[in-house]
């Protein structure tokens, strides 16, 4: 098949290229197996990726998607099986090998050095692979590439000060400048706001039209359907099926992803809005709270919220509206400049996390390895930090048994309680923290974008457990999220946060979606 390549935005036809996509895949993975201690991460996985296609790799948390991408990118060495690039066998033993064969891995968390500028980061990568070395030249390239990607970036800006989206743009620049033919995108879009995500898809489509191959790894079914030409579904380390575009069907895909995993059991129960007794006293109350961010600017400006027992307060807003600071104030990590924080009627303003935790407040955040866990320590130790029986002495045996019990209860996949937390997949780390905090919380739970790295089933299971705890134990929940859909699904009362201010508080049953959307962006 001869494919004529599309136009680039300038309107000029760039070049014509013949792509024999049907005969020879750009990338062929055959029978790849990868074992980790106690886990079979990939079980004889085979996959073909053609030039000029966007191929989505879909599966729930821990199904082996990222592992496969990392094997292709030379980060992991497979135990068995082979990889071919354009018909030639490739045995990548390092990321550099893969990059030299035109393969670039775009990780979920950008692999950049915060202290260096954009140009320096790009330069460092190029220099590592012996491409070029002149600062001026690279600066020009950075400006050009940024425009090309459609997201202008100051080449002199320190990477640490960039937003998540901008960091991913820098990663894309690196990919483009290294002459990437095969781009592996690992859950990158999960974190992006809708508008940026669409721009990103546009860019992927452009790559596709230039004859490049894109492997888009995601656990979100709608995303895969929206942008992919083909979808390969993975489950428990195996490829279940590869679907052509005409075969796409959300129910079929869901079945392939979660078969025998009881998805329907979760959807059916516990998702209805709970009845609230009006006269109960607030468990969490913030009064006119002002707090600054790291650079000394006000991130919270007079926040006023209150949450009653058996109530879920959803706080929704676009990314960077003060959500992180708000959650830190609520758990006692960040001190406030002005205003008061009452927990169960007691003034706990600037009393620190000890008082808040002692009252039985749980905390789940979007970055568990930053806020909640130590990656270098075992799961038992990470559990024991929050949940333990005794006083000054720890009984490792009983803690380990307790950890195992909680892991089984919440279906966390890990070799043993002795496993280091950082070895777990992103979804499992998140579920581990959720399990720990749900077990711990007696009075309230603070959740900051808790479902970001979770697949559909884990999200439903989390929300349903949360609702059960709210109903059964009278837990109060502050549910902070960037996803309006999720907040609408979870909350009893909804508040909109914008630029550090609470723009309005609404009853879930009566509020119009448009009203909330308007407040989020105004």
């Amino acid at each position: 098949m001869v494919r004529k390549l599309g136009k680039i935005p300038g309107g000029k036809v760039r070049r014509l290229e013949m792509v024999f996509s049907s005969t020879q895949p750009a990338l062929r993975v055959t029978g790849v197996t990868k074992r980790f201690p106690g886990v079979l991460a990939l079980d004889r996985v085979s996959l073909d990726l053609y030039s000029g296609e966007i191929h989505s790799l879909l599966g729930e948390n821990g199904s082996g998607k990222s592992t496969l991408a990392k094997v292709i990118a030379g980060i992991y060495v497979p135990d068995e099986g082979s990889i071919e690039v354009l018909g030639k066998p490739l045995k990548p033993v390092s990321p550099a090998d893969a990059i030299n064969h035109g393969i670039f891995y775009l990780p979920q968390s950008p692999n950049l050095i915060d202290k260096l500028t954009v140009t320096e980061n790009v330069l460092l990568t190029l220099r590592s692979y012996g491409v070029m070395s002149k600062v001026k030249e690279v600066k020009g390239l950075v400006i050009r590439e940024a425009q090309n990607i459609g997201s202008p970036i100051d080449p002199e800006a320190e990477v640490g000060k960039l937003s998540y989206t901008q960091k991913q743009v820098v990663e894309l620049m690196k990919a483009s400048l290294l002459g990437t033919r095969i781009l592996l995108v690992d859950e990158v879009t999960t974190y992006l706001p809708r508008s940026v995500r669409e721009k990103f898809y546009e860019y992927l489509n452009r790559l596709k039209s230039e004859g490049k191959a894109v492997l888009l790894i995601t656990h979100k079914i709608p995303e895969a359907i929206e942008v992919a030409d083909r979808i390969t579904v993975m489950r428990s380390g195996k490829v279940v099926k590869t679907l052509e575009r005409k075969e796409f069907d959300i129910d079929l895909i869901r079945k392939l992803m979660f078969e025998n995993n009881g998805l329907s059991a979760y959807t059916a129960e516990g998702l209805s809005v709970e009845h609230i007794t009006k006269d109960e006293k607030a468990v969490i109350r913030l009064e006119d709270v002002w707090a600054t961010d790291e650079s000394g600017n006000y991130a919270l400006r007079g926040v006023r919220i209150s949450v009653r027992p058996r109530e879920i307060l959803g706080i929704v807003g676009i990314s960077g509206s003060g959500q992180r600071e708000l959650s830190e104030v609520l758990i006692g990590l960040r001190s406030v400049e002005r205003g008061r924080y009452y927990l169960d009627g007691v003034d706990v303003t600037n009393k620190g996390s000890k008082v808040v935790r002692a009252a039985g407040v749980g905390f789940v955040s979007e970055v568990p390895l930053y806020y909640s866990l130590s990656g270098d320590l075992s799961l038992t130790e990470n559990m024991a930090l929050v949940i333990r029986d005794g006083g000054l002495f720890l009984s490792l045996k009983s803690l380990s048994a307790k950890t195992r019990e909680i892991m089984e209860k919440y279906g966390i996949v890990a070799a043993s309680p002795k496993t280091q937390a950082k070895v777990l997949s992103g979804g499992n780390v998140m579920r581990f923290v959720i399990a720990r905090e749900l077990e711990f919380a007696r009075k309230a739970l603070i959740a900051l974008n808790p479902t970001r790295s979770l697949d559909e089933r884990s999200v439903l299971s989390f929300i349903s457990t949360l609702k059960k705890r709210v109903r059964r134990d009278g837990l109060s929940v502050v549910y902070i999220s960037e996803s309006l859909d999720e907040v609408l699904q979870v909350s009893d009362v909804i508040a909109v946060i914008n630029n550090g201010k609470i723009m309005g508080v609404y009853d879930r049953r009566t509020v119009e979606r448009e009203v909330l959307e308007k407040l989020m962006v105004m």
């Binding site: 260096l116 996390s353 935790r357 930053y370 930090l385 720890l394």
Partner: protein, 376 residues
């Protein structure tokens, strides 16, 4: 302007050599071969006498055991601090403070008057009090930079290095002033402590003292137990690996830092007190002139070699004490071979140097990749 920066990033992929014992032994062997090559190239020492000396060092273990015990105690003190990201480079000063505390109790305190009798009980009480006060002063010496770190966020490292010199000066001031001895044949130093206050020599192993052996075992075992079986140990490990998780779980990281500083300083002070009661028996003048044996500094190497793994303290202490003792022995073989102006002492340090360089490089490349970036 040219600006050069070293960029260190955590490795994605593991390197071939993984196990700490292999890295330790490998560094030791490579270090030995490298240092021999250096000595051979500069002064032409024959391999036979080089390796015979090394063999003799290992065989004459009694000499090794003495430094091994002190390096184990001090290495554990520094290691527990490293666990909690408290970079205790002040063990040397804490060790000197321990010496001061011990000599004060047995010579100048009211207690020494009450308990000067030669009966076993009062001697034991006196020794115990001396060791405990030594530990307490060591803890105090470590607590000062600890509190400064906690309340002002100023790094403990430079403060501790300075405080080591203050400790030396304090000791010299006391030795030349209020504590100056009467029976010293004109030397500036303190008098010897009484026989009854000295630690007990182990018969047959003249370089060892019962109390020091017991202390080394107790310290090592209790630190191991603290780290793995107490809430404090868990907090220390979180402090060293993710202080934010510690804070968000309801703990005050400042309190944990203070605890770590106290424990670490206490153990270092303990070692100093035992050194005085068991070996030195008096304080010399110019104590900073190598008269402490620089144990407090050498023990940093022990802690560094065992990097946050208490199980490797003893093997590391063996390596470090073997290498330093080997260094002193090789000085003899080098006599007459050295060109003028080069001291045998410099050569004696080659072994520790090369071994540590090899070890450090392996350690670093195991976990990080290092790149040099030049900005113009």
């Amino acid at each position: 302007m040219v600006k050069i920066s070293l960029v260190i990033t955590k490795r994605y992929k593991r390197t071939i050599i993984e196990s700490t014992p292999v890295i330790l032994m490998g560094s030791l062997l490579t270090g030995l071969v490298m240092s021999y090559l250096i000595i051979w190239a500069t002064v032409g020492l024959d391999p036979l006498s080089f390796f015979t000396t090394f063999y003799q060092t290992l065989v004459s273990y009694t000499g090794l055991l003495e430094s091994l015990l002190f390096l184990t105690i001090l290495g554990t003190a520094i290691s527990i601090a490293f666990y909690g990201s408290y970079w205790n480079v002040g063990a040397e000063g804490q060790y000197v403070l321990g010496m001061l505390g011990a000599i004060y109790v047995v010579m100048f305190s009211p207690l020494s008057g009450f308990l000067s009798g030669n009966d076993l009980v009062s001697a034991a009480v006196l020794k115990l009090a001396a060791i405990l006060l030594g530990g307490a002063l060591g803890a105090l010496w470590s607590l000062i930079p600890g509190l400064i770190k906690v309340f002002t966020k100023i790094s403990e490292i430079p403060i501790m290095l300075l405080m080591n010199y203050i400790a030396y000066s304090l000791s010299d001031y006391l030795t030349a002033g209020p504590w100056k001895g009467r029976y010293t044949y004109g030397y500036i130093r303190t008098d010897m402590i009484s026989e009854s206050a000295r630690l007990t020599v182990i018969p047959g192993l003249e370089t060892l003292r019962y109390e020091v052996v017991i202390a080394a075992i107790v310290v090592l075992v209790s630190i191991y137990l603290i780290l793995d079986h107490t809430l404090l140990g868990l907090k220390i490990k979180f402090l060293g690996t993710n202080p934010t998780a510690l804070k968000s779980s309801g703990f005050d990281e400042r309190k944990v830092t203070v605890s770590v500083a106290t424990i670490s300083g206490f153990i270092a002070g303990l070692a100093g007190a035992m050194r005085l009661l068991g070996y030195d028996y008096r304080l010399p003048y110019n104590i900073g002139d190598g008269k402490t044996g620089f144990y407090g500094y050498t023990a940093i190497l022990v802690a560094w070699l065992s990097f946050r793994d208490i199980r490797f303290i003893v093997p590391s202490a063996i390596i470090v004490s073997a290498l330093s003792s080997f260094g002193y022995r090789i000085q003899m073989s080098l006599k007459g071979l050295l060109p003028p102006g080069i001291s045998a002492y410099a050569f004696s340090q080659i072994f520790i140097g090369t071994t540590l360089i090899v070890y450090t490089l392996t350690r670093i490349t195991k976990e990080f990749s290092v790149k040099l970036v030049i900005r113009r």
